[in-house]
Point group: C2
């Protein structure tokens, strides 16, 4: 059975302007690969309701799971929750369970739960909350869309709590080796190897370290024994 | 007049599997912002012809410029050039000017220009070559699509040679300040500020440094005098 599929949607002007380097896609990619879920597409859009809605609808209609990052804070440019609700055809308002989480959190620190912070309790009708162990304001799941924070530490905590609830397939395994030859030299034998191991995929990535050029060859697949066999052939061919 | 728009398309299984952290989008974002071209969307797709074709067609039909990264090397999984040719309805074959560049490059190093390396001279009909000062194999421009290498050093060199050929708008300028207050505290006055400066956009980004929580406020726009005025008000409000 093929693995479940997923897409990542990064939301935020700060990524597209070059202010901020997105690290959430890379983190999610590793976590999904380990869980046997295939990340198949990534997108980045600005803090624009129409752009978010179009991307959420396209991705949630194409892949099994969608993960979003960014735009669920208290300020005027945090419009992700409302845009996702519209994309999924749900109403949205301050929800009492989310409000209670914020009340308790801000009481502890003696901080006012003002109108801006209360916006973080806006949750689409029928959504399931995602715990935020760092700053309380929850993410949520609506349909197949997982809405999470953009701050990397909070995003990671939310990914860690969500992934175990998903049914994964066989984890994607890999074997890799460094070869002190250029990609152009190993291309032909690598293509033959790939043709013989149709259930695996092979990638090659040129590198330069301390002035030495070489290629890192990666074989990926779900069958560990088959990967071992491919690795042995790689060692014969390129070792 | 609004600025020209652009999209970035990253191509490669290694990004989606979590092996490799894409840094090219971030680099392009900064370079475009400085040139007055608005990066409006980013996508990542796998080394799959249908996925590449669909993304190229969607992005090139929506935005003024498209930039791609990855999949133009010599190995079997480097299918970007052929997929982009199909997406743009062009034929593709080894082109003599690209071949001549490779012949000269490999002659210098005494390396064989084998069939695999010759694939890097496959260029769509009517395309303009993009120089590769590092490893010779060129990128190319077809229609509004700029096809560039995935290796970050080569990608950067290609961006540097392409951007000056594009007509930019007014560069996007920014002013920013750090505030030792949470986002929830500055949200209301920041929203009022944003409402008064409709031609600017305002973002706020929470941070934690040495245990101190705060918010970085960023104002973005093309009018330096207006940004100066907004910065003065930010200092009054939050300083």
């Amino acid at each position: 059975m093929p693995n479940p599929t997923a897409a990542m949607l990064v939301i935020g002007d700060e990524i597209l302007s070059g202010r901020t380097h997105d690290s959430n896609t890379h983190h999610l990619a590793g976590a999904l690969t380990a869980a046997g879920i295939d990340l198949r597409e990534g997108r980045v859009v600005s803090d624009d309701a129409d752009a978010i809605i179009a991307a959420v609808q396209a991705l949630s209609g194409t892949w099994d799971h969608v993960f979003t990052s960014g735009g669920i804070g208290p300020t005027h440019d945090d419009i992700t929750a409302d845009a996702v609700a519209r994309a999924m055809g749900r109403s949205i308002d301050v929800r009492q369970d989310a409000r209670a989480i914020l009340v308790e959190h801000y009481k502890k620190s003696g901080t006012e739960l003002n109108d801006a912070r209360l916006r973080m309790a806006r949750i689409p009708e029928g959504a399931t909350l995602i715990e935020n162990p760092i700053s309380a304001a929850p993410g949520f799941i609506i349909g197949n869309v997982h809405v999470m924070a953009g701050v990397p530490s909070i995003f990671k905590a939310m990914v860690a709590s969500v992934i175990p609830t998903l049914t994964g397939g066989a984890p994607l395994l890999s074997r890799n080796m460094d070869v002190q030859r250029g990609e152009g030299d190993i291309a032909a034998p690598l293509a033959e190897l790939a043709a013989r191991f149709q259930q695996l995929t092979f990638g090659s990535y040129p590198f330069q370290r301390n002035g030495v050029y070489g290629t890192n060859i990666v074989a990926r697949g779900q069958d560990g024994a088959m990967l071992d066999a491919a690795e042995a052939e790689m060692a014969d061919l390129f070792g």
